[in-house]
């Protein structure tokens, strides 16, 4: 089918590439001329695993073209709107890019169009879009509007798009449902050629859920808000564990085994960030507020999250006493691993806070340094984690990049000023780093003193001994 995608960001580009991969002829537009030029000459505008390969493949096969939004609208009868919906100062979603796209559609399109919101938008945006198109159409346009919220995660977007758990379509007409079902048929039946792993094991057929437009819009906000709440909950429990001397890892393990709770999103740390969670929670609060319902539960979720950076800085201060003039290494800048996205990343607030207290920060991230330079010009960027650690008095781990699990700690030990690790993600193995002579401070667990100091020190229960040794799940 001939499909158009408006907006070539994380969501739009992935959508366009994957729809082409499963056999459609796709035209993708982008309003940022620089970005468009890059795409047209085969350069990726951002880092995302597997995406480049998929794009190369489908472009070579002639199934994906880039160009202007006007061209995109002329291309096919189905239009996916994938433009950004960032938050306004008051927490509302800024829908001006959506309106822009709608304006172009109303002006340029003739005949029938199925307009699909893929961007995350507040409930009732669908009916607003309908009204807008009705009032502004020029060439006798006939249209349907549908909602098809996107659940992909940066860092695994191609995989998430092609092997989703569910596809949600909010429609108000049977023909719109039919078209969407046909578009997604290869994904629903998992019958396409998987570009990532030819013998793909992950072949569970997704649930195809058809709802009304408003419910589909709400599903996206409710999902993200729930997950954000899960994170804030476990962060609160982590605080409690720190005070009473319990181990949040164990608590989370025991909770996660409950099939009504589930293990994912129960990792305590420095809080959620990124382009989606903070803004989607905010937007959901505003949606509820406008509907006359005070979603105070979510305001607490936000508050807990906002306290996480201060909590981590407090840990740094606890160990270093005075922060002014100290050199501190920050490992990881992206808001999560496998992406170069630093929008609303906790690293930024953390580094700004450290800088404001007079620290000197040297940072390393395998992918996100270019993007970070624009936001944080006043820190030293290093080409590897070892250089970043040189002469510092603490390493603060902020993003769970896998390579931080494979560090040669003896090398770090030889260049660092003080062997102190503050792990904001609980990602390192406490025993390994303590054996290498590091002091290890993490979230929601007792801090661990290096092996040599432990034998020297008399009074002993520095680490929750039973928790670490008896540890692990039996069977």
């Amino acid at each position: 089918m001939k499909l158009s995608v408006i907006g070539a960001g994380y969501v739009g580009l992935t959508t366009a590439a994957c729809l082409a991969q499963i056999g459609h002829d796709v035209f993708c537009s982008e309003s940022d001329v620089e970005k468009l030029a890059k795409l047209q000459s085969g350069i990726m505008p951002f880092f995302e695993p597997n995406l480049e390969d998929v794009i190369k493949g489908v472009c070579n096969a002639g199934r994906l073209t880039f160009g202007s939004t006007e061209e995109a609208i002329a291309w096919g009868t189905v239009i996916f709107i994938c433009v950004g919906t960032p938050p306004l100062a008051n927490g509302d979603a800024d829908l001006s890019s959506i309106e822009n796209a709608a304006r172009t559609i109303a002006k340029r399109a003739s005949g029938y169009r199925l307009v699909i919101e893929k961007s995350t938008v507040p409930v009732q945006t669908g009916s607003q879009l309908r009204k807008y198109l009705a009032a502004n159409r020029t060439n006798g346009l006939k249209y349907d509007v549908a909602s098809n919220p996107e659940f992909l995660r940066e860092g695994s977007s191609v995989e998430d798009f092609l092997h989703p758990e569910r596809i949600v379509v909010g429609v108000d007409s049977p023909s719109a449902e039919e078209i969407l079902r046909e578009i997604y048929q290869p994904v629903i039946s998992q019958s396409f050629t998987c570009p990532i792993h030819p013998n793909c094991a992950k072949r569970n057929e997704p649930v195809f859920l058809v709802t009304d437009t408003g419910s589909a819009e709400l599903i996206k906000h409710a999902s993200n808000s729930f997950l954000a709440m899960k994170i804030s909950f476990i962060n609160m429990v982590a605080n409690l564990c720190e005070t009473v001397g319990a181990d949040v890892t164990k608590v989370a393990q025991g909770m996660g085994l409950d099939s009504r709770i589930g293990p994912s999103f129960l990792n305590p740390g420095i809080g959620f960030g990124g382009f989606c969670f903070p803004k989607d929670v905010q937007a959901f609060i505003r949606i509820a507020e406008k509907a006359g319902c005070d979603f105070a539960l979510l305001r607490e979720v936000e508050k807990i999250n906002q306290g996480r950076i201060g909590h981590l800085v407090e840990k740094v201060r606890n160990e270093l006493w005075v922060i002014r003039g100290k050199k501190i290494a920050v490992w990881g800048l992206a808001f999560k691993p496998n992406t170069d996205d630093v929008r609303f990343a906790p690293s930024i607030a953390l580094i700004e806070s450290l800088l404001s207290e007079g620290a000197k920060v040297s940072a390393y991230d395998p992918e996100a340094m270019d993007k970070a330079k624009a936001v944080l010009p006043n820190i030293t960027y290093c080409s590897d984690p070892y250089k970043a650690a040189e002469g510092t008095e603490a390493i603060v781990v902020v993003t769970e990049w896998d390579e931080f699990r494979r560090i040669a700690w003896t090398r770090i030990k030889s260049v660092i000023e003080r062997p102190l690790i503050i792990d904001g993600r609980n990602m390192l193995d406490a025993k390994v780093v303590a054996d290498q002579g590091f002091q290890y401070v993490s979230v929601g667990r007792p801090s661990v003193i290096p092996a040599e100091a432990r034998s020297a020190e008399r009074e002993g229960p520095v680490l929750a001994a039973q928790d670490q040794t008896a540890g692990a799940m039996a069977d």
């Binding site: 409930v123 009732q124 758990e165 569910r166 949600v168 649930v207 859920l209 709802t211 009304d212 408003g214 419910s215 589909a216 819009e217 709400l218 599903i219 409710a222 999902s223 808000s225 729930f226 997950l227 709440m229 899960k230 804030s232 909950f233 609160m236 429990v237 409690l240 564990c241 005070t243 009473v244 001397g245 319990a246 181990d247 164990k250 608590v251 393990q253 025991g254 909770m255 085994l257 409950d258 099939s259 009504r260 709770i261 589930g262 994912s264 509820a288 509907a291 319902c293 979603f295 105070a296 539960l297 607490e300 979720v301 039973q466 928790d467 008896a470 540890g471 799940m473 039996a474 069977d475």
Partner: protein
């Protein structure tokens, strides 16, 4: 192993019967003499699937009942405390029953014993139990205090015991951990499930269940954290339901849409009139109090509780908007237990809503397949109790049905 279970309520009775079924010698203790007598004679005081069979199977052989705590402890290697821990006026857990059992245990430590908290208790309770037993002159190495929180749900308690999502053991010494592992070995090594007379396996169950071994404090905290999370899940979806009503979306579709996300899961995502029962409300209050005691204001939980209270008001509001005035109207209430499959009415939303309806001057006819007798103790003659839903509904202006959570 020889096990004493102190407290023969929902948890104690079920756990005791199940321990007997996996091969242990169990003495069930209760200070309620009538209860002990009734149990000895073969009565089953609570409505719980498979419990009558298990009691029948083991009563008088591996399972005995007693009012004598001292003798029971002396005869046992492990003592499980399963007495109630209700809320005090201030919202924290009332530990006086636990304390009195601890005192009772202290005089009966004639050899090494493990004292296990099965009741849901605030973090640090184990240290209090330890202190009390020590104060009464037991030798420090003659006992350990451990935590083994219970996750069974009323209505499916027996199945839940055998087919649990996980067994949590909180212990601070090797010796104590080893004993608890041994107690649960027939489940964790899978041998129980081979038996022809094993309690049948529910669809979802994974066997053998995983075991989480941790410190006592972490185990204590874990139980409160689980219940608080589940209550939060319910309140979340109830709040989403309110938003749906206001914007004209369909909350059931929203539930389907978010429940298919494996990081969320579809269970406990049913909107309704809020959670109730003997556990969630009190455990939430207790967890809130624990946090406060340690200097944290767990406001997230306040919001969970506020939403829950609000659900009942919203429900009453719906009745109002359907019937306009309520005084003198005849209403049928179908379901009184706090959820389906049980006769427990403690903090049941159905009871609270019925009370609100009575206050509004309604005439209420109620039906519940299991909880009628217990509800009669609350309402006396203020409510008419029917023998089936049709009688209850006869001539009613409106009825409600409690769905299981």
């Amino acid at each position: 192993m020889r096990i004493a279970v102190v407290g023969s309520g929902y948890v104690g009775l079920v756990a005791g019967a199940c321990f007997a079924d996996i091969g242990h010698e169990v003495i069930l203790v209760d200070n309620d003499r009538q209860k002990v007598a009734a149990l000895t004679q073969g009565q089953v005081p609570i409505h719980e699937k498979f419990l009558p069979e298990l009691l029948e199977r083991h009563r008088g052989h591996r399972l005995t009942f007693s009012g004598d705590l001292h003798a029971a402890v002396e005869a046992s290697d492990a003592v499980f405390i399963a007495v109630g821990t209700p809320s005090t006026e201030r919202g924290d857990a009332d530990l006086s029953y636990v304390e009195s059992v601890a005192r009772g245990i202290s005089g009966a430590i004639n050899r090494y014993k493990v004292v296990v908290e099965k009741s849901t208790v605030p973090v640090y309770t184990s240290e209090w139990i330890r202190k009390i037993i020590l104060r009464n002159a037991a030798a420090p190495d003659s006992f350990d205090v451990a935590s083994n929180p219970e996750f069974m749900r009323e209505g499916t308690a027996v199945s839940d015991f055998f087919y649990t999502d996980r067994i949590v053991i909180g212990a601070d010494s090797e010796r104590c951990t080893a004993m608890l592992r041994e107690i649960y070995a027939p489940l964790t090594d899978g041998s129980y499930y081979q038996r022809p007379d094993a309690i049948p396996r529910p669809d979802r169950a994974q066997i053998p269940p995983p075991m989480v071994v941790t410190s006592t404090k972490s185990a204590e905290l874990l139980k409160h954290a689980c219940n608080a999370f589940l209550a939060m899940k319910i309140s979340f979806i109830n709040a989403v339901a309110s938003v749906c009503e206001l914007v004209g979306a369909d909350v059931h579709q929203v539930c389907l849409g978010i429940g298919t996300d494996s990081r969320i899961g579809s269970r406990f995502l049913n909107p309704g009139i809020g959670y109730g029962g003997s556990c969630f409300p009190k455990d939430l209050r207790a967890f809130r109090a624990v946090a406060r005691e340690h200097g944290y204001e767990f406001r997230l939980l306040d919001e969970v509780m506020l939403i829950n209270e609000d659900q009942r008001r919203r429900f009453l509001h719906k009745v109002h908007s359907a019937l306009w005035t309520l005084r003198g109207k005849r209403l049928a209430v179908l379901g009184l237990a706090f959820k389906g499959g049980t006769d427990d009415i403690r903090e049941s939303p159905a009871i609270l809503v019925t009370q609100m309806l009575l206050q509004e001057g309604c005439q209420v006819a109620a039906y519940d397949p299991a909880a009628k007798e217990r509800a009669r103790e609350v309402f006396g003659s203020a409510v008419e109790f029917a023998d089936n839903p049709y009688d209850a509904a006869r001539g009613a202006d409106c009825h409600r049905w409690t769905q299981s959570l």
